[in-house]
Symmetry: C2
């Protein structure tokens, strides 16, 4: 259903998404003009609106594309991992590592789309972000069933702590173009979230 339509993507459309991805490596979305996108792509401005509802919709489509690659990687890294906590660690590490290397993707996800109310209706959100969240939720439930994770906290809050922590660790790195130290950060995050900050 989703992958069948690969056969016929018009070259112009490809050029446009590729162009935006390139430009997002240089400047932020708001200061990229549609004229610029078209010029870099080597097409006319009008063509953008043949394939995308508006400028933001184009952004969402680019995010969708990059997010699918990310989920693919996460699936690979998760294979063969045993134990709920280990699975959560794997997800955290993959995420941090991907965020560190895929700056364009991460900037779109963490800073560019947030203020668009209709992002939350977009495919990128509805299939990718929710899918990512669901995977984490399933692991948490599994962990509770197996006695690995305590049951006296709402699973959704645990999920939010995990996701929120990751985002907040990465945000300054993305904004100020700093490197993310994947392994140490993963270790710190896991130690905090798994065992708590309280001296025991």
């Amino acid at each position: 259903m989703t992958k069948v339509n690969i056969k016929k993507i018009p070259p112009g459309r490809l050029k446009i998404t590729r162009s935006l991805k390139t430009l997002l490596g240089e400047k932020d979305f708001n200061s990229i003009t549609t004229a610029e996108i078209a010029k870099t792509a080597g097409v006319t401005e009008g063509l953008i609106y043949k394939y995308f509802a508006d400028k933001r919709d184009l952004l969402f489509k680019v995010l969708l594309e990059l997010f699918e690659q990310f989920l693919l990687q996460m699936g690979k890294d998760l294979k063969g991992v045993e134990g709920s906590l280990n699975k959560l660690r794997s997800i955290m590490q993959t995420t941090l590592s991907w965020y560190d290397r895929q700056r364009v993707f991460t900037r779109i996800l963490l800073v560019e789309v947030r203020n668009s109310p209709d992002f939350f209706k977009s495919e990128a959100y509805q299939q990718c972000v929710r899918n990512y969240s669901r995977i984490i939720m399933d692991i948490i439930h599994e962990g509770m069933d197996h006695g690995e994770i305590r049951k006296d906290i709402k699973p959704s809050v645990i999920r939010q702590v995990i996701q929120g922590s990751i985002e907040h660790v990465c945000l300054p790195a993305i904004i100020f173009h700093r490197e993310i130290e994947v392994e140490p950060a993963t270790e710190d995050l896991c130690r905090t979230i798994f065992m708590g900050i309280q001296q025991s």
Copy 2:
């Protein structure tokens, strides 16, 4: 230094910030026009640019104003609280409660300013956000010195976990106009962050 200049705020300027605050209760920042702000304020569009560098700068100034009130409240709630972990709990509860009731403030902070690179140069960021972060950092260091908080995690990561968790718990509530259940959420957050999710 900061409070001395209260004496002479031009009425037009006050009308403008008040106008934006009102409008932000109805719609998101991007779909509010400068013409609209001026009309609601009862002034001309040009006056906005007498007091503010641009539309976003106006937003930053409004955030600054609201953030100062928030920090004041936090200081009050923190008075008389003993113990580092209790202080952190107090901050979390105050934050969640404020986020729940001050929707305009929270929406600006969590969704509207993020994508402006120059937000991070603004007064709102430089004095308020950093101040908020510093207060948390100080408590963490104090907690480590007093043996309340373990020393084998980077303090900055602990801070990021706390702030990130709060934001991620509140974000859906803000976006989808849902209520934040302050006490239960605080409890869940503290239990997670203080003691960890691992069944022991």
